[in-house]
């Protein structure tokens, strides 16, 4: 009976640790998705925005003029 209790405790402990690891990983991924760091993979996205500024297609926001 004691042996069975030990096994249950170990299994429950392992499940708790696994859940924590999963939850931390999930939140980390969500955080990285929310604050997404721009690298070479997003070069085309950023280059297009920069081009829109350089070409005058976008103007800085002021109260009077909106892009």
């Amino acid at each position: 009976m004691d042996r069975f209790g030990e096994i249950v405790s170990v299994v429950l402990g392992a499940l708790a640790v696994a859940y924590l690891a999963y939850e931390i990983d999930r939140r980390k991924r969500k955080l990285r998705d929310l604050f997404h760091v721009l690298g070479s993979e997003e070069a085309d996205i950023s280059a297009e925005l920069a081009d829109m500024v350089e070409s005058g297609e976008l103007q800085p926001y002021t109260r009077r003029a909106r892009a």
């Binding site: 931390i24 939140r27 955080l31 604050f35 760091v37 721009l38 690298g39 950023s46």
Partner: protein
């Protein structure tokens, strides 16, 4: 309006009005005074004080989301907090076209894209050059507001940073670590919400 200034005037003009003074003085040199004393025009400060460090873009195709409402309600404040950096608002049409060309962004808008001009001057868009705040993935007004505040704080705090990439990654690690601690303490993590 003209007034006469006596040649031998030793006493300064006291409390009499200009017109009274003009009638009291018979001889003297006439000088022209403007009818109303105007202050010299103050030089107008440029909206963008100093060299901008960032370029900020707001991309919003118009999903009826809580994030959109939070952004709209707080945009004026964000703008005032980051007067030194130009903010470019893409219209709904432009945003939609832009997102259609970059489909990985669908459903993540409103997006605040921040370009680090220092990094871009150094190596263009080849390496680290800024970050996106994907506000549209937040589901509650509180999450969206907290994310927006974290974003505003981060930009203000690291505006002079020599290595923004390192700072971003450090901050993310710190937030991740705090999130883990908060999970242990059964609290709601600060930025990413429940």
């Amino acid at each position: 309006m003209t007034v006469a200034v006596p040649l031998t005037a030793e006493e300064p003009l006291k409390t009499e009005s200009v017109s009274q003074e003009a009638t009291l003085t018979e001889e003297g040199t006439l000088i022209e005074l403007p009818a109303r004393v105007r202050k010299a025009p103050r030089p107008r400060k440029s909206k963008l004080s100093g060299t901008p460090r960032f370029r900020i873009f707001v991309i919003d195709s118009g999903w009826n989301s809580v994030a959109r409402r939070v952004l709209r309600h707080n945009f004026a404040l964000i703008r005032r907090l980051h007067k030194g950096d130009p903010i470019y608002l893409l219209s709904r049409k432009k945003s939609t076209e832009f997102i259609r060309r970059h489909r990985s962004l669908i459903g993540r808008d409103p997006i605040i894209a921040v370009h680090d001009l220092t990094a871009m001057a150094w190596h263009g868009t080849a390496g680290f050059h800024g970050f996106h705040l994907h506000l549209g993935i937040q589901r509650t007004p509180r999450q969206a507001l907290v994310a927006l505040q974290a974003f505003a704080r981060f930009l203000a705090k690291h505006r002079q940073s020599a290595d923004l990439e390192a700072e971003v990654r450090t901050e993310l690690r710190r937030e991740g670590f705090q999130g883990a601690v908060e999970i242990f303490l059964h609290k709601v993590p600060r930025v990413i919400g429940g």
